[in-house]
């Protein structure tokens, strides 16, 4: 057991937990931040993606000890009013079907656009292929990322 003061979504959360606990379960069971989802537990499906110091990380496969001094952003903290360009694009294109994978898709997409502001299909495929969608919304995800990229570019101008 160890005591942490985790920085999540710009707030601090003091917790006392086994240092091997994956970040995913700290978020869900300890902090009731349910937006980050459990899908596989082995980093294969991407549903648990959060940003750790801006990088997309599969929170099911990283112990809380490893992120104790990092800045963590979950879907709940991506933007104040679901107005991150990725969220806006997701809303405008009505991307989700069942929605369960979408937190992870959005977080991975947000990280992609920080790294590659104008991704092409190959960039999108490479970045997003770790995020599974069983409902098959892939074509909408791709389109929404391109729309988000356009808005980001015009925002930054």
């Amino acid at each position: 057991m160890a005591v942490y003061n985790l920085k999540i979504n710009d707030s601090f959360f003091p917790i006392d937990i086994d240092q091997n606990t994956p970040l995913l379960w700290v978020l869900r069971d300890t902090l009731a931040l349910y937006g980050t989802k459990y899908g596989c537990g082995i980093g294969q499906c991407g549903a648990c993606t959060v940003l750790v110091d801006g990088l997309p990380i599969r929170s099911c496969s990283i112990p809380v000890e490893a992120v104790k001094n990092k800045s963590i952003v979950t879907i709940e903290g991506l933007s104040p009013n679901s107005n991150h360009p990725v969220q806006i694009a997701w809303r405008d294109l009505d991307v989700p079907q069942c929605g369960y994978c979408q937190s992870g898709q959005i977080m991975t997409a947000a990280a992609l656009l920080e790294r590659i502001p104008n991704p092409n299909d190959a960039d999108i495929n490479r970045a997003m292929k770790g995020n599974i969608c069983r409902c098959g919304t892939y074509s909408r995800i791709r389109e929404a990322i391109k729309v988000a990229a356009k808005h980001r570019t015009s925002e930054n101008q």
Binding site: G35, G41, R91, G99, R134, S139
Partner: protein
């Protein structure tokens, strides 16, 4: 309160002023009994208008990604001419008093198609009541009124009044006898693309799925389950597990035989296992790894896919039930001037791999149980949980949450029974979560279907007879042989034989249609090639005459009840689609080297989906699906965005199974465990997908599943076209193309 007995409507006032319309939508085929008992039937408060004009539509359908929770209210709001921004959609906790109601089950691509009449009548009835109230208040005839956006305008004086002001008065009026429904030209919301009501919560992370439940005082459970179907728990040692910090209890879950005998053997199959109770999901998962368990493997312990293959081969010449006998196949087989073309097709077990691992939350207290779970059939779940607890149904409350994908798996009541059992044992609220490994290994799989198909080709080069020996691991999937309904061969014989299953089974997107379509559409394609005919032209030829079914009363009951009424429509639509494809020049026989095109067409109820798959040979898997064009006839499309999403999703679902599906089983145990070995399609494998809906104003006939069955045969036919190699099974691997 007034009752309309013909349409099963009730109108009443609501507290605080307003109107409630209550609705009963009888399940297909049970209307007779309902009419007699109508006084006893409780109706579902369905549409409610309060004095502020807020319209609440109650939803008992399960939201699993198909958008029914938006589409059904869309239809009602359209008939009502309501302001969509004033419509609130409320998911209601299911109640056992809503018996026999269509509104309690979600599946079979039937949510809109089977409620289409009832919900339009409901919307139109409320509108007429509001109009009559306004007419009465103004002292005019209803003819001079206009209704738009929740307002009724008196066209004589230009006065207008909002629905809310009229609702109380409307609830006092007699239910109008003559309701006029809108014609398609008058729709304002239907055929538009209204947004999915879930999207806002999903993108903010607020959407609450079953796995996100949090009840005060709740503990967490996970079950180490028997890895062999029908295996039993012999002994276990929990010493190490109990030592782990945060573990509260460990005990077995074994349903008593007398309870098991009363439960639905398909829906309510619960594996034996050992339950871990802990302070968190993670601790429960980890503690399971510390258990030492001995299983009694049972009858499936020595079985494998290799032994199943032998079992099927063994019964090939010992067919069980003859399900279709048209003409005289025996005579034609004996005719030495004909030749016989014989093929075997294998459509194996398929896993679901739903995105949200299975779970249920239960609180058993004072001889009653409350459940929180995403389920496709709340009524069925309540019934089975009540049976398992030996309680009356009234003692079970079910809160139906949205799910992260169902695809048939969430029809099954196993997780709810488990959670209720656990809560009763520990006397606490509990959230039970399956791991992904549990979800893969203890799935209720799509059954295995093998077809041995024979075609008798006359000396003149015509196929004059078909024999289909369908061998399956379950009963319910194998009635869809489909040879007897559309392609008019003069002699057709079908057999249906069962072999014992290795794995527990259940509904999987498109169920028996996915199973039957592959062999049918591949075999017809092979025959077209054998006869030197274009695959579309050959199908038109086969569809140009009616199959002589003889006396319909001799057909299986399920066929008489469900298939025959839709056969004519499905038949016409298949022809319409093929003619459309030819006219639009969507199909071509010209291909480049190393590339191929394949066609398949299949009916799911009255919805027809045809697909043209374009394939290239080469790459990691030996082949690549480049493009799929889907042409769909589903009657009226309610929401084009959702509709396209369902077809795209169905294609991706089927393509996953074609590339990575099936299942390995050794010593009774499923050999895969997670997404690394039970692979599914990812974004970088997405083919180009074009979806075309034939324009139609006919009643909507369902879209959740029809896109799945044609994919496998279209791709297999394309692979042949590209490579000359016939692959007669899925999954298709590189080895198959060598």
């Amino acid at each position: 309160m007034k009752i309309n007995r013909r349409d099963f409507l009730k109108i009443s006032g609501r507290g605080g002023g307003g109107l409630i319309l209550s609705l009963a939508v009888p399940v297909h085929g049970k209307i007779g009994g309902l009419i007699e008992d109508i006084g006893q039937i409780e109706f579902n408060n369905f549409i409610s208008i309060d004095h502020n004009g807020e319209i609440t539509i109650m939803l008992t359908k399960h939201e699993m990604g198909q958008g029914t929770g938006t589409a059904i209210p869309t239809i009602i709001a359209d008939e009502l001419n309501a302001d969509w921004s004033k419509v609130k959609i409320k998911q209601v906790a299911y109640d056992p008093k809503y018996t026999w109601l269509e509104m309690g089950t979600t599946g079979g691509s039937g949510s809109i198609s089977r409620t289409w009449d009832s919900i339009r009548i409901a919307g139109a009835t409320v509108k007429k009541l509001l109009m009559q109230t306004a007419a009465n208040n103004w002292g005019v005839d209803i003819k001079v009124l206009e209704v738009e956006n929740s307002y009724i305008t008196n066209l004589v004086t230009n006065e207008r009044v909002e629905f809310g002001a009229l609702a109380e008065g409307a609830s006092q009026l007699p239910i109008p006898k003559d309701i006029v429904l809108k014609t398609p030209k008058e729709y304002t919301y239907i055929v538009k693309t209204l947004k999915n009501r879930l999207t806002e919560d999903v993108i903010s992370g607020k959407a609450k799925y079953g796995i996100d439940m949090n009840i005060p005082g709740m503990v967490y459970a996970s079950i180490e389950k028997c890895p062999i179907y029908k295996g039993t728990l012999k002994s276990y040692d929990a010493k190490e597990a109990k030592k782990k910090k945060g573990v509260l209890d460990v005990f077995p879950i074994v349903l008593p035989k007398v309870i098991k005998s009363k439960l639905n053997s398909v829906l309510s199959h619960v594996d034996e296992g050992v339950v871990v109770i802990a302070m968190s999901t993670w601790i429960a998962f980890e503690a399971r790894k510390l258990l030492k368990i001995e299983w009694e493997g049972g009858e499936n312990e020595s079985r494998s896919m290799a032994s199943l293959d032998k079992d099927m081969e063994y019964v090939k010449e010992l067919p069980d039930v003859m399900s279709v006998d048209i003409g005289n196949v025996e005579t034609e087989l004996a005719n030495s001037s004909s030749r016989v073309v014989e093929m075997q097709y294998d459509n194996p077990y398929q896993a679901h791999a739903v995105m949200e691992p299975l779970n249920a939350t239960a609180h058993f207290e004072n001889d009653s149980c409350e459940l929180w779970v995403g389920t496709q059939d709340a009524e069925q779940t309540i019934r089975e949980v009540a049976t398992s607890l030996e309680l009356p149904m009234e003692k079970i409350t079910l809160n139906n949450l949205i799910s992260g994908g169902s695809f048939g798996r969430r029809y099954h009541t196993d997780t709810s029974i488990e959670a209720a059992f656990i809560s009763k044992h520990i006397k606490k609220p509990v959230k039970l979560v399956w791991t992904r490994e549990d979800e893969v290994r203890n799935d209720h799989f799509q059954p295995y279907l093998r077809n041995y198909l024979k075609a008798i080709v006359s000396r003149e080069g015509e196929v004059i007879g078909i024999e289909n020996r369908a061998i399956s691991t379950v009963e319910y999937a194998s009635w869809s042989e489909k040879w007897e309904f559309f392609y008019a061969f003069p002699n057709i014989r079908c057999y249906r034989t069962r072999v014992p299953t290795l794995l527990h089974e259940g509904a999987w997107r498109a169920v028996g249609e996915h199973l039957a379509a592959m062999s049918k559409e591949c075999f017809v394609d092979e025959l077209a090639h054998e006869l030197g005919k274009d695959p579309l032209d050959y199908r038109v030829e086969l569809l140009s005459r009616e199959v002589d079914l003889g006396n319909p009363k001799d057909l299986p009951e399920a066929v008489q009840r469900y298939v025959l009424p839709r056969r004519d429509l499905a038949w016409q639509r298949q022809l319409d689609i093929i003619f459309y494809i030819k006219k639009s020049k969507l199909w071509s026989n010209q291909t480049q080297k190393g590339k191929g095109r394949g066609f398949a067409i299949h009916a799911f109820g009255s919805t027809i989906c045809a697909q043209i798959a374009e394939v290239s040979i080469g790459g990691d898997l030996g082949y690549c699906v480049d493009k799929v064009t889907a042409i769909v006839h589903c009657g009226l499309v309610i929401n084009p965005h959702f509709a396209k999403g369902q077809i795209e999703g169905s294609i991706i679902w089927a393509l996953s199974a074609l590339k990575y599906g099936g299942m390995e089983v050794e010593n009774g145990m499923v050999q895969r465990s997670n997404f690394h070995d039970n692979k599914v399609l990812r974004i970088d494998e997405l083919p180009e997908i074009d979806v075309i809906f034939l324009k139609s104003d006919e009643r909507p006939s369902g879209l959740g599943e029809p896109g799945t069955p044609p994919l496998a045969p279209a791709v297999l036919n394309a692979i042949f076209n590209a490579s000359g190699k016939r692959v007669r099974k899925i999954p298709v691997t590189k080895k198959d193309l060598l």
